[in-house]
Amino acid sequence: MHVVVCVKQIPDPAAPGSLRKDTLTLDRSGKLVMDDSDSYGVEMALQLASGVDGSEVTLVSMAPGSETSGLRTALAMGAADAILVSDDALAGSDALSTAKVLAAAIRRAEPDLVIAATESTDGYTGTLPVQVAELLGMPSVTFAKRVSTDGTTIKVERQTEAGYDDVECPLPAVVTVTAGVVEPRYPSFKGIMAAKSKRIDVLGLADLGIDAAEVGSRGAREEVLDVADAEARGGGEIVVDEGDGAQRIVAFLEQLKVI
């Protein structure tokens, strides 16, 4: 079974985000790391692959500046190889363009199973994996909280409003996983060393046969008009509990007439 995992490389979320003044888009300059949300997909892929003989995990990512540091982290966890699409013309791509690029890259890997996160930490559109599925002509099961497979079918517990559904689906298929489904492993020292020599294919748009005019900011069909400060909530009262914390809350609730 060949499993492809989408791995987004994003600016360090610990650093405060900011919008670029000129394009009003998120500032993505600086070093990128693997989106934490995708570490669950990588772990899930490795676990599923280890249960089916002759399986392998390939990573697919689209990122500027031939960035590979996030991919190396996922390779160190145990993925076999990676495909990276990097092209200056991709700057400013909307989610649909990104989906077209990723779908073209994934198609090359001829996967049985494609795994992505339900939403990325920095973009959180949450539609990209389904767009990829439609482009590849595959079924999709989003919001998976448990997944098992025998290599021909997948069984998924899919989150719902009320609880969860048992869903079955033939492969090939796209599955999106939520955070917390599995415990991502820490790369071992051996894994980190091995990752250094693993293969990362770096592709440009021409390699994928995609017209540069259709993607990136030239192809984007949405624009940001302006950014405004939201109405700030009036500064409230902050008190330090000195044994009277509960009483302060009671008084507040009385004032609101909740009690």
Binding site: T127, V130, E134, E161, G163, R233, E237, I238, V239
Partner: protein, 321 residues
């Protein structure tokens, strides 16, 4: 802005609250509002959809257990191909809503604007609002290409209201064969039981986060919720940790709540959290860290240990009743 479609989702009690919110939004933007629904009972919800402003409902029909993403998107694309041309399609930010929106986006080759919390018309085009950085700032955006625009709208962005319209006309809109894309099947459904008011409808929400220290302490959050006739909520951190079911999660990936009163115990107030509860009328937060971001939105912040303040509060409330 002439004609808007709304994806209508059905729950146990007919159209979901978010569906009715979207109908109200659409009504305020265009004279003609139509719904798209699926499932065995579309005829039975035509009355409510009409009352909330839909003149017509396209019925994709019973999906026989298939996940709705592929077939419902195919049915909508087929309608567009047949010449039905909405200017905008509004989707609920729900599991199935996002699936249908993503697939329709590919079928129509139109991008999607997600996490929409506001819609207005400016110079003839539809302008969206998106909260960023936990709602501290609002981005306004719009589509530049040809329509229809596809919008995924967050819960509680608009208020549902009846418009007193007549039942919507039901028009069959079958999906046709969607090949392998429609192959995912629901074989069994599981409901996690809950008592008390529903989290996203409760007037009081009492939430707990990692600061509770252990799954056992969550019982105190539930107890306080009961005493205040509210619903218990949770941060993603403790849902991921398996302390409580996902249905309790409040935030970007969970439920959006807009109660009269929100009380948060041991929750840091990360940006993905704030967008889910910032709309509460009053916010009380208890956290031992004076610098926790949640204090920036709190009306009353108590810097203290949940293990002291929470039991004391429960005790105080019990002794009053």
């Amino acid at each position: 802005m002439d004609r808007i479609w709304v994806l209508a989702e059905t729950g146990e009690q007919g159209p979901t609250p978010l569906t009715l919110e979207l109908l109200a939004a659409a009504r305020g933007l265009a004279p003609r509002v139509e719904a798209v629904a699926w499932g065995p009972g579309t005829a039975s919800i035509a009355g409510v959809l009409g009352e909330h402003g839909a003149s017509r409902v396209y019925d994709v029909g019973d999906l026989a257990g298939a996940l709705p993403g592929a077939p419902v998107a195919a049915a909508m694309a087929a309608l567009v191909e047949r010449g039905e041309r909405p200017d905008a399609v509004l989707f609920p930010a729900s599991y199935d809503g996002r699936d249908v929106a993503g697939r329709l986006s590919v079928r129509l080759d139109r991008p999607v604007l997600t996490n929409v919390t506001g819609l207005s018309v400016r110079d003839g085009s539809l302008v969206t609002e998106h909260p960023v950085f936990g709602g501290a700032q609002i981005v306004h955006a719009r589509f530049t290409g040809e329509g229809p625009g596809i919008y995924v709208v967050r819960a509680k962005s608009f208020a549902a209201a009846s418009a007193g319209g007549a039942a919507a006309e039901v028009v069959a809109a079958p999906a046709g064969d969607v090949g392998p894309t429609g192959a995912a099947r629901i074989v069994e459904r599981h409901a996690e039981e809950a008592s008390g008011p529903k989290l996203d409808e409760a007037a009081v929400v009492v939430s707990g986060g990692r600061g509770l220290g252990s799954a056992d302490s969550y019982a105190l959050v539930e107890e306080l919720a009961r005493l205040l006739h509210g619903a218990p909520g949770a941060s993603r951190a403790i849902v991921d940790a398996g302390w409580v079911p996902y249905s309790h999660q409040v935030g970007q990936t969970g439920k959006t709540v807009k109660p009269t009163l929100y009380v948060g115990w041991g929750i840091s107030g990360a940006t993905q959290r704030l967008v889910g509860m910032k709309g509460a009328k009053s916010i009380v937060a208890i956290n031992k860290d004076r610098e926790a971001p949640i204090f920036s939105v709190a009306d009353l912040g108590v810097v203290g240990d949940v293990h002291k303040v929470l039991p004391a509060l429960i005790e105080a409330l019990r002794s009053r009743s």
